[in-house]
Point group: C2
Chain length 471, copies 2
């Protein structure tokens, strides 16, 4: 630390540039190698606490370690014991087939440590975020003038939407169906909404929020002197991919003067392709819309997005004012993103999205989404042709749910667990109202029909016949 | 998209591995080049909306672009127009001298897309987070058994702390000084606290939260039938680096049965070195503590940390339960981090910290923090020896504030803006109660004494004499 000399070390903790490059190339090789060979390795592997803490734990290290040994340990233990949600047979939850161009964009944001808090802090990263948000707005069909912000994921995006709507309209009762994501309730309670202000309405036989039921609940609340405030529709439920009747709910919200929120965290990107756009009719009428690029826009974690139709509403909810920030207030009318969510210091999540759209082009992304939706339809048709199975909900935005004939929840859980534990694929089970189902979520365009058929074949077998796959 | 073949594309959007490697190396070269040459370029540059949107904007691109041209555009525009908070003369706000080992760790997390939501989703990344949180706990001296979670920064960490304390103790009135960060108020209002529940108390002449004032406020609230709940002390205020009297406040909290929260977002890592530990006496008594590794632990954005003394309190506040998550509940007693904050899908922020401590060792990090604190003392002494200046607050955790003799706020703002606009250094001004001051925050160990002296010399000059520095 040559504080008396002109020379500045490249790295604050003293790594030399040649070593930085050498280790950087090594990381590139590791990651590209992972992309190349992922499909022939397990989709998931879980370690034991003893093994993982044995390899990764211990006291705070006082002395420097050998970088190569340390890197190898991180890869061999931390990064080999997880669900690879970009694996072509990752069918559980909502997979995340992140693209390499997005990885490059995120690497640049991290390497340059790009701040996206305010125009004066990072005009370049701010401009990229403005551009990307406008692309996402266009993608779902919201009007010009819509504002937005990138956050860490769907939970934070929904929370940010609810806080924004409350600041604009004063709060009141929120309505959603029993198929809405549990994180929405967690968000609302964290924001201080009381249990009586969060009404979870029974979904109809098609697992949708029925306008009739919604209308009755709103009327009941008004009669009881409560203030209806916001409807949280879902565009692609996590369990079955079902889309609430968005146009009808939009009509109801307009008539009743309610804020129309849509949680499209995983489903909204499907608006890019024709079939998805049809399934999502009415999405463009949202007052606020959540869309997670780290779900179905080929981005690595984390990238969530909130779009708000009403200009200035985000700023009204979140503008921060402090003496020590006065040097960085925007003088040119451009947004300071620290005033659009609860994050003040913010990493730039927009660079990776920008690079993805620029390098691949939207056409390829659209085709990839359409292709995955077709694969889910293939899965549905395959299931229908096989008497082992009963389709419970058809392919909707990449998700199909199904049941083994005469099977109960225990059997489904056991089958999903066995296939996942084998490493061949990750599969989850869920419940649709009281019905136990297995579930495939297919959003990865590199998934093959053979992947789907082989996974279903394995799910049809009793667990002991399911051989482990270890890389 | 060869859905009928065995072959799986490496990249979901079709980039070939050779091209992935080529572009990956290019990104490494760009980033290492940035580390190497950062000090000779400007500390900050701001673009105009016309230039930036001209280069980066336009319609959603339908067709693929030339990756090399696109990458170059991103670097030349987005990443060249920002504050480089790792520049040796980045003295504004809280700088972020991120280390290259941390960059490598984050690159691996992004490249492998490591999930840290639940043990069954990512046992490896979860284990790393458990290990790193325990290191951070040890660093500040909290007892074994303390739990934690990594979040996106100080704002989210403070919000998570307040929500946790409320779930544990039922809420009530929160106390803080007028020097506490404005983000704390934003957090509390977002959580639904009413203005009357947030008491901002006048700091004493040393800008500290005086126990006498705090005690009186608590007594007043009890007398009025309100429930005192939580004291938010600051360990390193953003304006001046001042540490509230932690031991005295801890005593008061113990006597009054209040939750003792400490916002040590930037200051807490100084506990690693002897001088910092002395300044932070009592930090180990916190019920909850916020510490941002992306401020003074050499991490790129984003990395915030919350530590909670009471085991189980985070889970009580945030546990989420949903049918479609049942496949991934922890069966081995290990934490599911999705149950410790509002994030469900979570990127792994722990890998970069783990790699930093492992590659450099704690000794080097400790020395780097101690060295920066000494540089701030050098700045203070230099200012004291120069009649142009008056030191307003001494060097405290790397921050020194000072005033030009007889200058008003306008003059200070103008001087800070001119030096920042020149690109030579970033400097901010602030107000300490009613006193306008300039401020240097020195946390980067690559800063030289010459950097400090030259920056102060430029601040002493009238703006027109301050020549621009352009790379």
């Amino acid at each position: 630390m040559n504080s008396d000399l002109e020379v500045h070390a490249a790295d604050p903790l003293g790594m030399e540039p040649d070593e930085m490059r050498r280790l950087g190339y090594r990381v590139v090789n590791l990651v590209v190698g992972h992309f190349e060979t992922r499909a022939v390795g397990p989709a998931s592997r879980t370690g034991t606490p003893v093994d993982l803490y044995g390899a990764l734990g211990g006291a705070l290290p006082e002395d420097p370690g050998d970088p190569d040994e340390v890197l190898a340990r991180l890869v061999d233990f931390a990064l080999s014991h997880m669900r690879h949600t970009g694996h072509p047979r990752a069918f559980g939850h909502i997979p995340c087939p992140s693209s390499f161009a997005a990885v490059l964009g995120d690497w640049l944001a991290t390497g340059y440590n790009a701040p996206a808090s305010a125009w004066a802090m990072g005009s370049g990263p701010t401009a990229v975020e403005v551009v990307v948000l406008d692309w996402l707005r266009e993608l779902v069909g919201l009007p010009a003038g819509t504002e937005g912000v990138l956050v860490s994921g769907g939970s934070m995006a929904n929370l940010t939407a609810f806080a924004t709507a409350r600041a604009a309209c004063g709060g009141g009762v929120v309505y959603m169906s029993d198929q809405a994501h549990a994180a929405l309730r967690r968000d609302l309670f964290a924001l201080g909404f009381a249990p009586r202000q969060v009404r979870v309405l029974p979904s109809d036989d098609n697992l949708r929020l029925a306008p009739r039921v919604l209308n009755a609940a709103v009327a009941q609340d008004r009669a009881a002197g409560r203030k209806p405030f916001l409807v949280a529709a879902t565009a692609g439920t996590t369990s079955s991919g079902t889309v609430d009747p968005l146009n009808e709910i939009a009509d109801l919200c307009a008539a009743e003067d309610l804020w129309f929120h849509i949680d499209g965290a995983y489903g909204a990107p499907a608006a890019l392709c024709t079939a998805g756009r049809a399934a999502l009719a009415g999405i463009e009428r949202a007052d606020s819309l959540v869309l997670d690029p780290h779900k179905w826009l080929f981005q690595p974690y984390d990238a969530g997005c909130l779009l708000i139709r009403r200009p200035g509403a985000l700023r009204k909810a979140f503008a921060i004012d402090a003496e020590y920030l006065k040097d960085t207030g925007s003088a040119c009318g451009e947004p300071d993103f620290r005033d659009r969510s609860l994050e003040l210091t913010r990493r730039s999540r927009a660079l990776k999205l920008w690079l993805t759209f620029q390098i691949y082009g939207t056409a390829r992304i659209r085709d990839a989404i359409a292709h995955a939706m077709e694969l889910a339809e293939f899965a549905e048709n395959f299931l229908r042709q096989n008497t082992t199975w009963e389709v419970v909900t058809p392919a909707q935005l990449g998700i199909v749910t199904f049941a083994l004939q005469h099977a109960d929840e225990h059997t489904h859980a056991e089958r999903a667990a066995a296939v996942t534990a084998s490493g061949y694929a990750t599969v989850t089970h869920t419940k649709l109202k009281d019905r136990s189902v297995l579930r495939l979520c297919i959003t990865n365009p590199t998934t093959t029909k053979k992947d789907i058929v082989s996974t279903l074949d394995r799910l049809a077998q009793k667990p002991r016949e399911c051989l482990p796959v270890v890389r």
